[in-house]
C-alpha cells in the first residue's frame, strides 16, 4: 500500500516533466496533475508496475473549470448568455489497486478551444464509455479512442455540449419545443 505522495514521487522519477504537480489541500483528497498527451503512458505504468498494480479505474469524469474570460454577449429574457474564452476543461481519473489497496487521483487539463486528451481505453477497457460520456457532455476529444460517438444525447444533437458552463439549450429539436 502506497500513499498518493509515494506514487507521485515514483511517477515523477519515471516521467519527469509529464507529471506536473502534486496537490494536497485538505479536505480534498490529494491528486496528481499530469500532461494530457502523456496520460496513457502514465496510466499504463500505474497498471503494470509491480509496486503499483492499479487494476481498477473506478471513475473517469470531465469538468468545465470555467476559468477563462467571461464575455457577456446578450440577455434573452431573464437569462444572461455569456461566452467563455480561454481557460481549461479537465479530466479526472480515480484509480484503485484492488490487490495493494491504494488509491490515486489524476487530473489533466486541456485548453477549452482545442480539448484533446489521449485515451486510456488500452489500459482499462471500461474507460471507453466514460470517455464517450465526457466527450458527449463536454466535447473533450479522446485521441485514439476506438469509438468516440455520443452516448447519452441523441446522435444527431448539433447544439453543443450540455455541461459546459456557456452552453445554451436550443429552442427546438426535431420539431419538439425544448424550453418549458
Amino acid at each position: 500500500m502506497k500513499t498518493a505522495e509515494d506514487i507521485f514521487k515514483i511517477l515523477k522519477d519515471k516521467f519527469g516533466d509529464a507529471v506536473l504537480e502534486f496537490k494536497n489541500d485538505k479536505p480534498v483528497d490529494p491528486f496528481i496533475i499530469v500532461d494530457p498527451l502523456e496520460v496513457d503512458k502514465i496510466c499504463l505504468f500505474l497498471h503494470d508496475d509491480s509496486d503499483l498494480l492499479c487494476d481498477s479505474l473506478m471513475n473517469l469524469s470531465g469538468v468545465d473549470d470555467a476559468n477563462g474570460e467571461k464575455i457577456k454577449s446578450a440577455t434573452s429574457g431573464e437569462h444572461e448568455i455569456s461566452i467563455i474564452n480561454g481557460g481549461t476543461l479537465s479530466v479526472w481519473y480515480h484509480i484503485e489497486s484492488t490487490k495493494l489497496k491504494h488509491k490515486v487521483t489524476l487530473k489533466t487539463s486541456t485548453p477549452r478551444e482545442k480539448p484533446e486528451v489521449v485515451t486510456v481505453t488500452d489500459v482499462w477497457k471500461c474507460a471507453a464509455w466514460h470517455e464517450r460520456e465526457a466527450f458527449d457532455l463536454y466535447g473533450i476529444v479522446f485521441l485514439n479512442h476506438p469509438d468516440l460517438r455520443r452516448i447519452l444525447m441523441p446522435y444527431d444533437w448539433e447544439f453543443g455540449f450540455p455541461l459546459r458552463k456557456d452552453y445554451k439549450n436550443p429552442e427546438f429539436y426535431q420539431g419538439m419545443k425544448v424550453p418549458y
Binding site: 447519452l152 444525447m153 441523441p154 450540455p162 452552453y167 439549450n169 429539436y173 426535431q174 419538439m176 419545443k177 425544448v178 424550453p179 418549458y180
Partner: protein, 163 residues
C-alpha cells in the same frame, strides 16, 4: 347496459345499444404496451402485481404496440426517447389511449428548468387522455387514472371521438 325486464332475462336476451356494447368491451380489456421509462415504471409494475392487481380491470401488459389499446407513459421522457415514444404510439391500432403517469411525463417534473435533455410533457408529441399527478404516483393513483379513462371510454360515441 340497458337490460330489459324479466321476460327477456328468462330467455337469455340482452338488449343494448351498439355504442354501449362496443364501449363496454373496449374499457373492460385495455391491454397496455409493456413499456416503462423510469421510477414511475416501478409503481406501474407494483400496480400490475398481485396486491393491486391491474388485471381485475382487464389491464395486462402486451409486449407489442400492434396489439395494445393503451400506453402508459411511466416516467421521464427524454428528447431521445420522445421520438421512440411517438413511433410506438403510431404503431398502435385505433382506438388507442394514452395515460401520462407522473410529473415528468405531465410537464417535465423536476427537470422543467435545467433538464436540457427532457421533453417538458409527453403531450408535446402524442395526445394524452388522462394525466396522473405524483412523483411517482402511488398504485392507487394510477388505478384512479385508469378508472377515469374507463369513464371516458364509456361516454365515447361511434360517430364522434370524444378525445
Amino acid at each position: 347496459m340497458g337490460i330489459l325486464d324479466k321476460e327477456f332475462s328468462q330467455s337469455n336476451i340482452v338488449i343494448t345499444k351498439t355504442e354501449d356494447l362496443f364501449n363496454w368491451a373496449r374499457l373492460s380489456s385495455l391491454w397496455q404496451v409493456g413499456f416503462g421509462l423510469a421510477c414511475c415504471a416501478i409503481e406501474m409494475m407494483a400496480t400490475s402485481a398481485s396486491h393491486y392487481d391491474f388485471d381485475r380491470f382487464g389491464v395486462i401488459p402486451r409486449p407489442s404496440p400492434r396489439q395494445s389499446d393503451v400506453i402508459i407513459i411511466s416516467g421521464t421522457v427524454t428528447l431521445k426517447m420522445a421520438l421512440r415514444v411517438k413511433r410506438l404510439y403510431e404503431q398502435m391500432p385505433d382506438p388507442k389511449y394514452v395515460i401520462s403517469m407522473g410529473s415528468c411525463a405531465n410537464c417535465g417534473g423536476p427537470y422543467w428548468e435545467h433538464g436540457y435533455h427532457v421533453l417538458k410533457g409527453v403531450d408535446r408529441v402524442i395526445p394524452v387522455d388522462v394525466y396522473v399527478p405524483g412523483c411517482p404516483p402511488r398504485p392507487e393513483a394510477l388505478l384512479e387514472g385508469l378508472l377515469k379513462l374507463q369513464e371516458k371510454i364509456r361516454n365515447e360515441s361511434l360517430v364522434r371521438k370524444s378525445a
